[in-house]
Each structure stands twice: as structure tokens, then as C-alpha cells.
């Protein structure tokens, strides 16, 4: 077993060597511009791009003509939301989204709000982080042009009832954008069955290269139109200009193909490993609380709050395992995770949270090591924690008058 161990697969993932192999010829040998219509260099590039487009579309049950390449999910989210708002401004300017979205969605909505270009409803979620489809229905007005709700959350892994939301969107004639960055390639996605009109995702979360993503834009029932956010040569059917990064696209395509072929076995393997990790920790550590939904959850996600110990110190004590925490001490803003807060997790427990993100290349041995390390460090830090000491003495921490600074 090699250290450090990478258990932060929600942030990004290592590239699959098979993806790299597919990409390599497109740097030096087949370097053409896919938009060059008049020579063999261009044709080879175009063929590679169109093949990748098919592989990508297949993974989400779309048509390859509905795939628009972007630099990643952040750009896809921006393009979808700003593009729809601009295109449909005669209909209205109201957007419905949720409070646990990624910042690529929330901050886009906030920016539009601040500029007076949109009014936004941020739906609250239940204690598992799930959006209630009926809340979506009730928030729709005759000015609503877009619903933007994520497929699966990047911190807690909770999977939203996207199909139900899609049905309501269709019923009401409102477009539905879904940030599926964490879900695509990990759980089945079907834009038809789920009633999704626009879908964002990114290659680097699914063992592909960084710097390439896609926005699915529905072509039929209804035909969705978006205003381009960048002027230029009119690539990607006028929706996103710029010379296509052929090697990245080829890698993205290969990554999608591998996910499609291996999803069933891989998700079963990761679920078993994740459950073992969870059980191994919970068995030994009292007052460890699962954040997110117990079952409607991504197969590779585990998010736990360890009462009485602070997240950053936990990470520091497990230096040879790459993890992430919702603690304020790990964030630039010194605010604990807004996602956990949105579920109603107390601020103290938000500070104490650790996110485990498993991936294709993790092994059982690494999980065993992680269980051992987590138990060790939580025990050690609780020994060091004045809060744990007080709790053991029977002091109700809520009743204490803290000298806040």
C-alpha cells in the first residue's frame, strides 16, 4: 500500500491510465483543429471529437448533437443559467434553485440577482439534504424560466428526486437544469426519463482530464435555446465559441465509455467498501453522526461528524490520507459548510465533519488503514478536547455561557 491515500474523489479524481492512452495521439501526431474543414488534419480531429461526443451522450442517454463542450461544470452551470435567463427574458426572470447547490450555481444565481437580472428562490432542503418536489411546484410562478436543482450533492452525496422535479417542470412548462457533476458516471443518468433539459458535468470527476466538461442542451420536446456567453467563431452550434481541445475531449469520451461499461460493478464495489468504512468507524466511535441521506446517497460518499473534535485537526492527524472537512478552519471564509448548515446540522457538528470520497483506485487495504487511523485520531483528539471532558462530566454544553471572542 502506498501513502498518501487519496480519499477525496469528490474534489477531483486521478485520471484512468486508459484515458491517458486514448488522449496521447492527439497532442503531437493528430493535432488538427476540428473546425478545419479542408484537410486531413482537421478531418481526423473532427472524427475524434464526434466519436467522443457519442460516448459522452450515451452515458446520459442523450443524442450526440445535444452535447456542448465547455471548460468544466462551472462553465456549464454559468452557461445554462445565464444563457436561459438571457434567451427567455421576455417570458420572465425567476429562477428556482436549492440552498445546497454547488457555488457554481448559487453564486451565479446571486450574481444575477445582484445585477437586478433575476429574482431567485432558494429552496430549503430536509434534514437529509433533499429537495422536496412539491416545494418546487409551489415556488413556480408565471415568471419562472428555470429550475436548477443538482442531481447529487458534492459534500453529503444525497441524491435528489430529480425525476419527480423533471415531471413537474414539464407539467408547468418550465425548463429544468440539473448540475449532475457528482452523479454522472457514478449512478445511472437518463435525461429522457428524468425530464432534464440542461445537464452540467465535468470530466475530471470521472477519471478524465481537467479542463473539459459538457452542457447537455435538449434539442427536442422542447428545443432549448441558450444565449452564448462568449463571442467568437460560433463553435458548438453557436452556443460556445472557441477551438475545441481535442485531446481533452477524447479523454472525456473515453472516461465516459469506461464509466458506462463499468458502472454496475464499480458502484457495487464502492458501496460495499463505503459501508465497511462507515461500519468500521461507527462501531468504535460513539457520537459519530452520518450527514446526508442514509440510503439515497452516492455509492462512494461518506460524511460523518465526530462530536467534540474539530475537523481541521482531524485532517491534520491523518496527514497520509487525503480528505476534506466542512470545518470553518479549513475554509478561507472561516464559515463552516453552508451545505451542512442547510440540513440543520448544528454549527459545532459542522465544524466536526469529515468527507470521505472513495474512487475507482481505492483498495480494501486502504479502507482498513483509514478505519484504524480515524479511530486513533478521534480518540486522541477527544482526550485533548475540553468539550469531551465536560460532556463526560455530564455538563450540558448547550447550557454553558461561552466567552465568545
Amino acid at each position: 500500500m502506498k501513502l498518501p491515500i487519496f480519499l477525496d474523489n469528490h474534489s477531483t479524481s486521478p485520471m484512468d491510465p486508459r484515458v491517458l492512452d486514448a488522449m496521447l495521439p492527439y497532442f503531437v501526431e493528430k493535432f488538427g483543429n476540428a473546425a478545419s474543414r479542408n484537410h486531413a488534419f482537421g478531418w481526423a480531429a473532427e472524427e475524434a471529437v464526434e466519436n467522443a461526443r457519442k460516448q459522452i451522450a450515451k452515458l446520459i442517454k442523450a443524442d450526440s448533437k445535444e452535447i456542448v463542450f465547455t471548460s468544466g461544470a462551472t462553465e456549464s452551470d454559468n452557461l445554462a443559467i445565464k444563457g436561459v435567463l438571457e434567451m427567455y427574458k421576455d417570458k420572465g426572470n425567476h429562477i428556482i434553485t436549492s440552498s445546497t447547490e454547488h457555488r457554481a450555481v448559487i453564486d451565479t444565481a446571486k450574481a444575477l440577482e445582484a445585477k437586478g437580472k433575476a429574482t431567485v428562490t432558494y429552496l430549503s432542503v430536509d434534514k437529509y439534504g433533499m429537495v422536496n418536489p412539491e416545494d418546487v411546484r409551489n415556488a413556480i410562478t408565471d415568471k419562472t424560466v428555470l429550475i436548477s436543482v443538482m442531481l447529487a450533492n458534492n459534500e453529503i452525496g444525497t441524491i435528489n428526486p430529480v425525476k419527480e422535479i423533471g415531471k413537474i417542470a414539464k407539467e408547468k412548462g418550465v425548463l429544468f437544469h440539473c448540475d449532475a457533476t457528482q452523479g454522472v458516471g457514478k449512478i445511472p443518468v437518463d435525461v429522457q426519463e428524468m425530464g432534464i433539459d440542461l445537464l452540467s458535468f465535468s470530466a475530471h470527476k470521472i477519471y478524465g482530464p481537467k479542463g473539459i466538461g459538457a452542457l447537455y442542451v435538449r434539442k427536442k420536446n422542447p428545443r432549448v435555446r441558450i444565449a452564448a456567453q462568449m463571442d467568437g467563431g460560433g463553435h458548438e452550434r453557436g452556443m460556445r465559441s472557441g477551438t475545441l481541445p481535442v485531446p481533452l475531449i477524447v479523454g472525456f469520451g473515453k472516461a465516459c465509455e469506461l464509466c458506462e461499461q463499468e458502472m454496475a460493478t464499480e458502484s457495487a464495489r464502492l458501496t460495499a467498501m463505503r459501508d465497511r468504512l462507515q461500519a468500521g468507524i461507527m462501531k468504535e466511535i460513539d457520537e459519530a453522526y452520518l450527514n446526508g441521506h442514509p440510503t439515497q446517497r452516492l455509492p462512494h460518499n461518506l460524511n460523518i461528524s465526530f462530536a467534540y473534535v474539530e475537523g481541521e485537526s482531524l485532517l491534520m492527524g491523518m496527514k497520509d490520507i487525503a480528505l476534506s472537512s466542512g470545518s470553518a478552519c479549513t475554509s478561507a471564509t472561516l464559515e463552516p459548510s453552508y451545505v451542512l448548515r442547510a440540513l440543520g446540522v448544528g454549527v459545532e457538528l459542522a465544524h466536526s465533519s469529515i468527507r470521505f470520497g472513495l474512487g475507482r483506485f481505492n483498495t480494501d487495504e486502504e479502507i482498513d488503514y483509514t478505519i484504524k487511523k480515524v479511530i486513533e485520531i478521534v480518540t486522541k483528539l477527544r482526550e485533548m478536547s475540553p468539550l469531551y471532558e465536560m460532556a463526560k462530566e455530564g455538563v450540558d454544553l448547550k447550557s454553558v455561557q461561552w466567552a465568545a471572542h
Binding site: 467534540y308 491534520m316 470553518a328 478552519c329 475540553p386 469531551y388 471532558e389 465568545a404 471572542h405
Partner: protein, 127 residues
Amino acid sequence: MAYSDKVVDHFNNPRNMGSFKKDEDGVGTGMVGAPECGDVMKLQIKVQNDTIVDAKFKTFGCGSAIASSSLATEWLKGKTIEEAQKIKNTDIVQELNLPPVKIHCSVLAEDAIKAALADYQKKADSK
């Protein structure tokens, strides 16, 4: 963010971690911070003849907060009450090489020292 070697050392080998009984003679206890802020520091001193003969801490907080309180106990031992009053958070920042975002962890340690000294004083005065 990378931690300085000294922070890592204090974190891995905390000095004087533990507790005295609060009502023990000559013991002053300072508890500062709040769980909602993600940091709570408990610092205790044991005083004999105006000199701090022993010190202990327990901290809920980030690695820098733990290191700051561990260092504080090291510095407190052997100092007189008057000398202890002079420990500044900036001394801790310098010694541990804390980056700007972690300065508040050192402020907390200074507050904890002050609170422990005040508690000791209060107990001494009420005798």
C-alpha cells in the same frame, strides 16, 4: 496550507495536555472560545509563591489552536504571575510561524492565559 514544523511538533506531541481539579488550591482556570466558533481552549495554571509551577491545557480547535495552547503551557511554567501577564499573541505567532488566517488561534491562547491568571487572582483574593 502547509503547517510549520513547530506546529506539527506541538500537534503530534502536545506538551502538558490534561487537567487539574478546578477547586484545587492555587489553580487558575481559563476557558475561552465557543463550540460554535470551532474553537474552545481550556488553560490551567498551578501557582505557588507567585510562581507558576505547572500548567495544563485542553483544546478543541484546529492544529494551530492546539499548538498555540501547548506552547503557552510550556512558556507559563516557571514564570511569575507578572511575567505571565506579558505573554503576547504576537510572540506565539512568531514562535509557531502562524499564517494570517491562524492569528486568531494565538489570540485565543493569549485570552486563555489572561483568563487563567484572572481566575487564579480572583480565588486568591477571596481567601
